[in-house]
């Protein structure tokens, strides 16, 4: 019967919300600091951020040699 279905769904939702409400949250200041710190630590090895020297770029165009 659809009423008992609705109640079952409502019970599940409450159960799920209880789990989510019980989550232990850290302070945003700590979360933000860690995000920033990760970016800083890895910036120098991020090719899209710092650029790729042509000699090390596996995708660079290999121009054919022209024999004059």
């Amino acid at each position: 019967m659809s009423t008992s279905n609705n109640i079952a769904q409502a019970r599940k939702l409450v159960e799920q919300l209880r789990i989510e409400a019980g989550f232990e949250r850290i302070k945003v200041s700590k979360a933000a600091a860690d995000l920033m710190s990760y970016c800083e630590q890895h910036a120098r090895s991020d090719p899209l951020l710092v650029g790729v020297p042509t000699s090390e770029n596996p995708f660079k165009d290999k121009k054919p040699c022209i024999i004059l």
Partner: protein, 340 residues
Amino acid sequence: MGEMEQLRKEAESLKDDITAARKAVQDLTLQDHVAGTAVVGRVQLKTRKTLRGHLAKIYAMHWGTDSKLCVSASQDGKLIVWDSYSTNKVHAIPLKSSWVMTCSYAPSGNMVACGGLDNMCSIYNLKAKDGNVKVMRELAAHTGYLSCCRFLSDSEIITSSGDCTCLLWDIETGTEKTVFAGHLGDCMSLGVAPDFNTFISGACDFTAKLWDIRDGQCRQTFGGHESDINAIGFFPNGNAVITGSDDASCKLYDLRSDQELITFQDSSIMCGVTSLAPSLSGRLLLAGYDDFNCNIWDTLKAERVGVLSGHDNRVSCIGVTPDGMACCTGSWDSFLKIWN
């Protein structure tokens, strides 16, 4: 008071508790924290390769772990495995159903998977002894379209579906191990955490959910978007989740503080986000849009620092190589482009 009414009240009360708990840890915003940081300089990436060969819209692409091979899926009914360095096609796999919406490359490089309106996830063995690529398994159980799939290993794969659920499969037996139910709308996209213990899903109920892979439990739910979430991915350290939506914005949600930290939007952008990928350090966020472009955002400052334009139709998929060397965009114009 009837039980239904009681449950409704309890749900509302718990939602208020969650909102209050999130606010209680908001001692500082991300914006405050990065106020002293400069925006990254203008990022100008060039198309290095164009992968030509598909005859219709490309819907999905996924890099192999070697950062060289990648797989793409098109509604021309083919999966193509490309050597992106040479642009050669390593495999061109004809599909039973051309209505494909997703593809995935196994971390081992031994298999690829795809699926779509056939509601199934088909697994292909690339390393069969006779050299022919053929279907290894057809994973059928979803009652809606397959929107996304990601291998955990050669023996397990996670799928998301228009039937509002995600499934963890045992590839060997071809059966479902775990159902992840809870979304109230089509699941559109999924991403696996770097440590493979959890995964995230984005759906048409405007929320993103974090799931424990082993016990099937939804641990966290993130709202805030005003329309369908089409794309989702983890920030490289696994502590944050980035979503892209039809509401024209991307959002970054921090997992440990359980809340949205930043929104990536601009009044000049009025079309939906189709796909996204962070750069290796996480400092750049590349996002594909319905307006044929891909915007590059400074993840910490939420400012646009670059644009990839070159496609003649919607950018439907984007992926950054595991080694961070390049990004690949796939489009409805039937081409894939490699940029760095």
